[in-house]
């Protein structure tokens, strides 16, 4: 699901895409989903889009 968001923003440069992903997750995601995502990112889950992972670390 998060990967879908990253895919939509793939045309932007890295910094802007990550900022927008963070904003989207803040606005629309339940905190427990954000925590799950953070945990996946921390564990280095390689199914995460790298920009999503970057966003997760910034949440």
């Amino acid at each position: 699901m998060g990967n879908d968001i990253a895919r939509q923003l793939a045309h932007l440069d890295e910094e802007e895409a990550v900022t927008r992903i963070v904003a989207h997750l803040d606005r629309f995601w339940d905190p427990r989903m954000r925590r799950t995502l953070q945990a996946l990112a921390a564990a280095g889950d390689d199914t995460l889009d790298p920009r999503l992972a970057a966003a997760a670390r910034r949440l």
Binding site: D4, I5, Q8, D26, W29, D30, R32, M33
Partner: protein, 954 residues
């Protein structure tokens, strides 16, 4: 209509039909003042003498005229004398001229009328049933003009031997009673736009026929406009034949689709014994102006279907039998269960889902209960699975989540761009309006994979049909905008004055990858055809976009909504009548349920939950602190349920087990929960997983409001008290109270008062104001005290319109060798959504099962013929249904509806969803189709038939 031995119409408390002024209103700047029978009256110039007389309180006898149809002038009943003019002109076809002096009751015209009437009566059965029922306008007219004896014969119709046609499940046609006034023929053409009826033969031998066959086998779509128009009992509702005339009227609103038609429920009896005789569309209804479709007019039988549940029930496990209990016990079990889950698993472990079928008031209290009594934001609505991308997309671009126009606006449109919607089936009354506009010369471009009826039909010929391949909408809309911008057809002045991000958007859209040539392969639309359509749209004085679920239910649904908003903005087609971006909403109250804060991130009025000043409004009023973080959306609830962190769910009037994608996943999630509370009319699919069942009310028992797709707030008024003994909002309030948060209201009107007090766009709304005004379109504020038919006039709600770069990103759902076809889904006229209501009515006659439509070439290579049972399979599941080989579909795409649980089309749809809102991607699934093994039903299907639908799948 009255007879002498029945109480007069219009008596206080009695039944009266809606007034009929004889001919339609005329819009004119100039006035004409005329004198009729000594009374002076001023009307718009061009108004008929008949209508002017009616306005002055004088009824001129009439038979072939009715105010929903253009004057016809055939019956000669309405003759009048005009000072200074020769002869006796027909008042229905004579326009008023200033200073005219008219007499409607001279001896000469009275004699002429009597003669005409006696002629009619001589060819009319003396024992006509319409007389006895008192439903016949002609009989009343005969009394008025004093034609009592038939001097020309003994009243026996020469068509008496013709066949009585009872084939339609809702109305009968009795040719013997027909006077060939052709009101029905004209209604079918002018009002409905189907043109199913014709006059056959000439003179004395002429008769009405639905194309030489019976009504059921004809082109008739059973809208009932002809029945409503018929002045005799030749066309008559079966229910009226059975029950007799109604005795009272309740003004209310249809509970089916997002058109939100106003109805007069014409009923007999009072209290619990109330029986609906017929539903009559109200001419005063803002959305429908006297018209309706087969669902609203006829398909109300589900409200007292034997499957309807009238008692609360509980059980400890979903394998147990249901046990009927008192309201107190059921409410206590729900409340205690929810509290226990929160104690053991945290505040966020429970949530609620509200229904777009319920009233604003019922939906509002659900989100209030979740936010204040549950103390979290885990509230979502079934709009998630249909129009959540509309919410996101229109909010980002225009600043609010709503269609920009009223329905009437289409009467000013010159070009209509219809995308991913099939209004003749899903929004029939809007379709009738649209078709009327097309007959007047407006053009339509249909962008839809399927060749829907509006591509080609009676008096409708689309300027273009663009069969956009499922999944390529954004590429398509970008190519449209690219053409507009690169060919210099955009409205530079509008963009500079009204919009922002103009330069970056124009640069983005002009990029070669967005050109029709570059996207041709993805969209399947030849570049030249697309360019022509774009020019047509851009060059029209007024061009309007209408769209449906074919836009939203995609992985890029939200992007597509923004793409359409972009297209409207770059051409300046926003902020006046005849233009705009208009979602055609599925269910009756999708708009309302979204408005009422049913989304986990938004309070009522689309205000984000993170805004402290908005939370403060509710915290002060409710005395509870609100959680500033968004809660779970429906798909997230299911995921969290499977993960064990979400364990209790309250579901109001929504069959999530059937209507949500990937049924297996949903069922597993529901199974894993500790407490599922279902509130519904029927023991639906979701109730199979429930522990508490709370019976709901039908729209005939509700007091409240629905908001339709044009933001029109319409009143729903009870024709009878709740059959299960409790208002639905009260049930929700009882649960909240049992959890320690009382929500006391003396009635639904107090809930609306709270909504108005806390939501700026509803500030001027109250039941009293709605009763006085009929309906109002939000925003209703100090600045717009009567509501707002057209939005974004002069300025967008967000200030400047926001042009968003809409990059096309293909869906991950791809066809391959194993699944080479794309499945897309839709609706059919006679059925509604998952069919819980319509399947329990005679609408089953037209659509007893879901059908798979497949292109002849695809069918041929698979050896499939029409009528074959075929297996439809995708990566996630398979189901069996009957095939229809159809050229409506492009090669490579198959289509089905999802009205029947036994088909379970959602068994095959995937978990893909819109990136921004999680709206499921129902419209794109890679599938394969093959002839099913020659066999009957599978065990599972048989079980579905037997168990899920306990009684009478009539």
């Amino acid at each position: 209509m009255t007879t002498l031995d029945q109480p007069a119409l219009g008596e206080p408390g009695g039944y009266a039909p809606e007034p009929d002024l004889g001919t339609p209103p005329v819009a004119s700047q100039a006035d004409a003042t005329v004198t009729i029978d000594g009374r002076q009256v001023t009307v718009p110039a061009g108004t008929s003498v008949m209508r002017a007389a009616a306005v002055a309180g004088i009824d001129v006898p009439k038979l072939c005229a009715t105010d929903s149809l253009k004057a016809f002038g055939s019956c000669r009943m309405c003759l009048v004398e005009v000072d200074g003019a020769r002869g006796t002109p027909a008042s229905c076809t004579t326009p008023c001229a200033d200073g005219m002096v008219v007499s409607t009751q001279t001896e000469q015209v009275q004699r002429l009328r009597r003669n005409v009437m006696e002629l009619y009566l001589s060819d009319h059965p003396a024992d006509c049933q319409g007389c006895a029922r008192g439903s016949c306008e002609m009989q009343a007219m005969a009394v008025t003009v004093g034609a009592v004896e038939a001097r020309y014969g003994n009243g026996r119709d020469h068509l008496a031997e013709s066949s009585y046609d009872a084939s339609n499940p809702y109305f009968d046609y009795d040719p013997a009673a027909c006077i060939v006034c052709s009101r029905c023929v004209r209604a079918c053409g002018e009002v409905q736009g189907t043109f199913a009826l014709t006059v056959e033969g000439r003179g004395f031998d002429s008769r009405i026929t639905p194309g030489g066959t019976d009504f059921l086998s004809s082109e008739c779509v059973s809208c009932g406009a002809c029945v409503q128009a018929c002045p005799t009992s030749a066309l008559q509702e079966k229910s009226l034949i059975e029950l007799g005339m109604p005795t009272r009227v309740v003004d209310t609103t249809c509970a089916y689709c997002g058109v939100g038609c106003s109805f007069r429920a014409e009923v007999q009896g009072t209290g619990e014994d109330t029986q609906v005789v017929r539903m009559m569309p109200a001419k005063t209804g803002g959305a429908n102006e006297g018209h309706s479709c087969v669902k609203g007019r006829f398909a109300y039988g589900y409200t007292n279907h034997p499957d309807r549940q009238l008692h609360p029930m509980v059980r400890d496990s979903i394998d147990d039998e249901w046990r009927v209990v008192s309201w107190e016990e059921a409410v206590a079990k729900a409340a205690d269960g929810f509290s226990a889950i929160q104690r053991d698993h945290g505040v966020g472990a429970i949530g609620g889902i509200s229904s777009s079928r319920c009233t604003n008031e019922e939906v509002y209290v659900v989100q209030k209960m979740v936010r204040a009594a549950f103390g979290n934001n885990n509230v979502d609505t079934c709009a998630r699975v249909c129009h959540s991308p509309t919410g996101y997309g229109l909010n980002q671009t225009f600043g609010t989540s709503a269609g920009t126009q009223d329905f009437k606006s289409v009467e000013q449109a010159d070009v209509v761009l219809l995308i991913g919607a099939n209004p003749t089936d899903a929004h029939p009354v809007f379709a009738s309006r649209l078709k009327r506009r097309l007959r007047q010369g407006a053009q339509i471009v249909v962008a839809d994979p399927r060749r829907i009826d509006l591509v080609h039909g009676p008096h409708v010929e689309a300027a273009a049909h663009l069969p956009v391949l499922p999944g390529s909408n954004v590429a398509f809309v970008n190519a449209m905008a690219h053409t507009v911008v690169t060919e210099g057809l955009h409205d530079e002045a509008f963009l500079r004055e009204r919009c922002e991000n103009v330069d970056s958007y124009l640069a983005f859209i002009a990029r070669p990858e967005n050109s029709p040539e570059a996207t041709e392969e993805v969209t399947g639309i030849p570049a030249e055809q697309l360019r022509a359509a774009a020019r047509l749209y851009a060059e029209a004085p007024n061009a309007a976009i209408y769209y449906g679920l074919g836009v939203t239910e995609h992985s890029q649904g939200s992007t597509m909504v923004m793409g359409m908003a972009n297209l409207a903005m770059i051409t300046g087609n926003i902020g006046r009548e005849g233009v705009g971006v208009n979602p055609l909403r599925g269910q009756n109250n999708v708009q309302g349920s979204c408005d009422m804060g049913s989304f986990p991130h938004e309070l009522p009025g689309y205000r984000h939950i993170s805004r402290p000043e908005v939370r403060a409004i509710y915290e002060d009023l409710w005395g509870r602190t609100l959680d500033p973080e968004p809660g779970l959306r429906i798909p997230n609830m299911f995921d969290s349920a499977l993960a064990g962190t979400f364990r209790g769910l309250y579901v109001q009037g929504e069959d999530i087990a059937q209507s949500d994608p990937n049924t297996q996943h949903v069922e597993a999630a529901l199974r894993s929960m500790d407490l599922v509370v279902v509130q519904d009319l029927f023991l639906n699919e979701t109730a199979r997983f429930a522990h508490v069942f709370l019976p709901g009310t039908s729209f005939l028992e509700k007091d409240g409001t629905f908001t339709n797709a044009e933001r029109r707030i319409n009143r729903v008024r009870p024709a009878l008290p709740p059959r299960q003994g409790k208002d639905e909002w009260q049930i929700t309030c009882d649960i909240a109270a049992a959890m320690g948060f009382p929500m006391p209201y003396a009635g639904a009107h107090e809930i609306m008062d709270e909504i108005a007090a806390t939501t700026p766009t509803f500030a001027g709304v109250s039941f009293a104001r709605l009763d006085a005004e009929g309906s109002m379109q939000w925003p209703v504020t100090d600045a717009a005290p009567h509501g707002t038919p057209t939005m974004h006039v002069g300025e967008f709600v967000r200030g400047k319109g926001n042009l968003v770069e809409t990059v096309y990103v293909p869906t991950t759902e791809r066809t391959n060798r194993r699944f080479p076809l794309v499945l897309t889904t839709g609706r059919i006229l006679s059925q509604y959504n998952v069919g819980a209501q319509t399947r329990r009515t005679a609408n089953q006659t037209w659509h007893p099962e879901d059908i798979l439509e497949i292109h002849p070439a695809d069918a041929h290579v698979r050896g499939i013929s029409t009528g074959d049972l075929v297996e439809l399979s995708s990566r996630v599941g398979s189901t069996t249904l009957r095939a229809e080989v159809s050229e409506r579909m492009p090669a490579g795409v198959v289509y089905t509806t999802f009205h029947h649980p036994v088909t379970g089309a959602n068994v095959v749809t995937t978990e893909n969803s819109d990136w921004a809102t999680n709206c499921p991607e129902y419209k794109v699934t890679a599938v394969e189709v093959g002839v099913a093994n020659a066999r009957g039903l599978t065990d599972a299907e048989a079980a579905a038939r037997d168990e899920r639908e306990p009684a009478g799948r009539s």
